[in-house]
Amino acid sequence: DDIVVSAAASLTNAFTELGTQFQQQHPGTKVLNSFAASDVLVQQIIHGAPTDIFASADQKAMDKAVEAKVIDAASRKDFVRNEVVLIVPADNPLKIKSLADLKGASVKRVAFGNPATVPVGRYTQAGLEKTGNWDDVKKREVLGQNVRQVLDYVARGEVDAGFVFATDAAIMKGKVTVIETLPSPIPVLYPIALVQREKRNPQAADFLAYILSPQGQAVLAKYGFSKP
Amino acid sequence: MISMHIKRRLQAGAREFTLDIAIESAAPRIALFGPSGSGKTLTVQAIAGLLRPDSGYIQVNGVTLYSSEQGVFLAPQARHLAYLQQNYGLFPHLNVAQNIGFGLKKGWLNPRRNALPEAARRWIEAFELEAILGSYPAEISGGQKQRVALARALAVEPRMVLLDEPLAALDSTLRQKMRGELAALQARLNIPTILITHDPADVVALADHVYQIENGRIVANCSPQQLFPSGRAAPGITQDALKIA
């Protein structure tokens, strides 16, 4: 039978591998992953998407789902930790060395996720507000609709700098350089939970357990996620 | 055979044309005669059901096709007429054979390219259309178009035939031949005809009664013999005769 998983876009590579492994261990079972921005997933689940597991990139998205009573709140757990990092194009033409350099007159554009709609944007805004750089960055804002768009802009050198998850930056090692980690007042913790619905696949709980098991955590670690 | 009195006003920008036609005739074969723009085509279109009069009535062979009083307006489909349009109105996407067979095949599909119903064959021979059966309207000459349109109209064995200058684009040999065919058809089927033509010979051969239209009104009527005593009058004579009539 099929287990349907709705997972945040930043989990794409890790969850694809987790699904494959789980299928090998449980022949006859299929894991179907549907990736999108966390907020999109929430909307789909609220409106009755036949999904069994929801993995979100931040608590706010999961909270919305819980509020709408579509989540088995008891099964909710934080399963990985991530970090938000400042990145620049690999050749770093503006010689940016720290957050403070973003104030420079030569820095024209800085990309980050839209705080209204993207978890990584929310983390970024909170972090920058704490370090006192928010107003400087805001003046140079280019909003991405998800992490990968921000990453793409930086990799192509269209923007001078950007904020993404550390796991995303790791995908394009040759094209972007990580300058520093943004201290985050909210911990960057990804929650996961079973979706509340009548015909939920009984094996969904097994898959959830597998993700939380040492085997699953090893896969996640491979893609740069650390333990919660 | 036909009894009608209709009124209709047409507006084209500032210009206005009023049609007010009364015809009452027991003659089965009528000709409409009159100058360009006098309303001949509009009259025939009203009979065919393509022009809706403002008021009045039209009766053919006792059947009421239109009556503003009784609130009757038969759809063109229900009138069972044949109408040869002045511009032929051939279907550009169908070949000559399909055009001729169009009215003979009911339903939702056009006749197939090489299917030729028996009823059509007679007209194809009579009008010498064999050679061009597979051609499309864009590939045939003016006279050929006119003959195809005529064959298409006659093939459905209509209750009444409306002919708007049916032979105008034909050379004299063909014209004589087709005039003969039409006359024979009228005799054989005893089919009422309304004919618009500018050729006195057509009137003599194909009509028993002539109505003259001017400026949207019937101004005179008489027999063809009164109009063209010789039956082969030259155009000048024709006109004079009509003026007297």
Binding site: S34, F35, H47, M172 | G49, Q77, F91
Partner: protein, 228 residues
Amino acid sequence: MSSLTVPLLLSLKVAGWAAFFAAILGIAMAYGLSRWRSRWCDVVDSLLTLPMVLPPTVIGYYLLVLLGRRGWLGPFLEQFGIQLVFTWQGAVIAATVVAFPMVLKAARAAFEGVDHTLEDAARVLGIGAPGVFFRVTLPLALRGILAGVLLAFARALGEFGATLMIAGSIPGRTQTLSISIYEAVQAGNDDLANILVLVTSFTCIAVLWIASQLLPDNLRIKGSRDRS
């Protein structure tokens, strides 16, 4: 290989059905509008064009609200065992809604260009209204309509925002070629993206070319054939 053929076939299935439904809907409405002599015609026409004006994601969101399990129509459909969210049928609906204004506009222009005297001629020959439509009006308008349907097919093939919203992105089930391309680009997997783009382009050119050959030769004539 199946990572290519599966989404390809799915895309063709979805776009084909969407083009089909869009054609039926669009032609029927266009014919109605072209006959309806009223001042409101053009207003209704503009209203029906709205699905083109709204961002596809938003269309998808409204469809979700309408057809979802808690939507207006969803519970009703569920009684009959019809589930649209997260299924390829949902993708067909999304693509149909987005694509049908193209058929509508093209068909309306085509119907209004048909010479009425030819329809009159058919009527006098005793052919009833459906016969006149299928034997005269439709063939004479076919060139324009076909152009619209091909546009609709192309649009449906490229549809992505609305589809992603209502059908999700489940590999093998609802992940169309468009979504695969999107995800490949997002994942920084440029080679795969390029291959997928080539496949889409080639398929689309082939389909459009074949379809344009469907128009019978005799429907191409207008006025005399080129004689010089």
